[in-house]
Amino acid sequence: MFAWFANPDRFMRLSAWALPIAAAIAVLLFSIGLPWSFLFAPADFRQGESVRIMFIHVPAAWWAMGIYVFMGVASLMGLVWKHALADVAARAAAPIGAAYAALCLITGSFWGATTWGTWWEWDARLTSMLVLFLTYLGYIALWAAIEDEQRAARLTAILCLGGLLNIPIVHFSVDWWNSLHQPASILRSGGSAMDASMMQPLFLMAFAYLFAFIALLFAGMRTHVYRRRALAAALRRARAT
């Protein structure tokens, strides 16, 4: 199935209609999900109104990680199977994932200020997300630093795969470190099973984030395909003269 996408022209034809549809679905889901989370979902009996931040924070966390895994798969496909659009996909996904990670960190900070009374907690999830954010930044920086695009594609793919191995290790290390320094504490109300009235808007928001990612990803990939065409044409013209 993925090989089918490898043809840039086919991808451009597909994304020409898939992009607007994904964007429309994303807008629709957000316009339902945001008011639902903001107003109509019930307040948590322990955390009060601040649990509404969860509807912004948790999907961002899920997809920040999911997008990085997507980048890892794309990197592997580019390196091993030489999939023609894989590096474009990974490159386009990175800024979106970084933005989701940043959104997760900032909203998590706000949420923590209400529940823990502090603007930052060095717990396993927040710290691992911070390291993931830094990993995204390093990936984007490496793309920017190398002029030769083909070389950049392979080097960033190698970096992405290394980072993929590292993230679970970081999570484990911070978890271990936390268990050493403080007794186990319920850091989120996720300790209790979540009520359906909260699960529904949460999953809706999760889908909203997903379709936003797909739309933004396709937009970014199309941009890079156009860019390559423009640069190739400029190169041909420079050679002809």
């Binding site: 630093a145 190698i158 290394g162 290390s173």
Partner: protein, 223 residues
């Protein structure tokens, strides 16, 4: 047999180059400055110094390791010896590992030795300074291993020092966490402190996987 001869030749050459190029002077100088300045900034309260001592040693050693990485492959890339490395009979991974081992010997050992007086100044009890130094030495194996990976990725980049730092930072986090935790408990539990074995695991990962990733990256840098 010739493979090992090639590898040890690379090791000896890099060792000589490291010593000739000022050797451990820069990292040691940085280490000395940092371990002097931070206590001055923190104040003379001995309890506070004892608390921040091991973490400070660990962070300073990690940063000192970063200092030497930028030049690691840059020089080889520029003068073309990197191209030649592909032609020798030893696998590139082993060559890279030999370069890392040379760094660890030329710079890591002096840094670990320098940590002994620094630890004393930071109120580590004398019997604990040896486990702390051993931990740092093992941690340096991790830092250099992962550092090789970052340096190889950024080898062609002008002034790649900051880029290398950003790239390897996520990989430095676990050894620093485990190592600093072990060092903090070195006074009471020596080498049996919690985190020490995990630190060794990180070092093994760095030593085994770093050269593999670095070699994969280096193959993309030439030609």
């Amino acid at each position: 047999m010739t493979m090992w001869r090639t590898v040890s030749a690379v090791f000896r050459r890099d060792l000589r180059l490291a010593w000739a190029g000022g050797g451990a002077a820069a990292p040691l100088g940085f280490f000395a400055c940092a371990t002097t300045l931070v206590p001055l900034a923190v104040g003379p309260d001995l309890k506070t110094l004892a608390l921040i001592g091991p973490p400070l040693l660990w962070v300073t050693v990690a940063l000192a390791a970063l200092m030497i990485l930028e030049r690691l492959f840059q020089a080889d890339l520029e003068d073309g010896s990197l191209d030649q490395l592909h032609l020798v009979d030893a696998p590139l991974e082993f060559i890279v590992a030999a370069k890392g081992a040379a760094l660890w010997t030329a710079i890591g050992l002096p840094l670990a030795l320098a940590s002994l007086p620094a630890a004393l100044a930071l109120q580590t009890p004398p019997h604990a300074t040896i486990p702390v130094a051993i931990g740092l030495l093992i941690g340096l194996a991790a830092f250099i291993g992962f550092g090789l990976f970052g340096a190889a990725l950024a080898a062609g980049v002008r002034r790649g020092g900051v880029l290398i730092a950003i790239l390897v930072l996520p990989f430095f986090a676990p050894p620093i966490i485990f190592g600093a935790a072990a060092a903090s408990k070195a006074a009471s539990e020596g080498l049996g402190a919690p985190g020490f074995l995990l630190l060794c695991g990180c070092a093994l990962a760095g030593v085994a996987l770093g050269p593999i990733g670095a070699a994969a990256a280096l193959r993309q840098q030439t030609g």
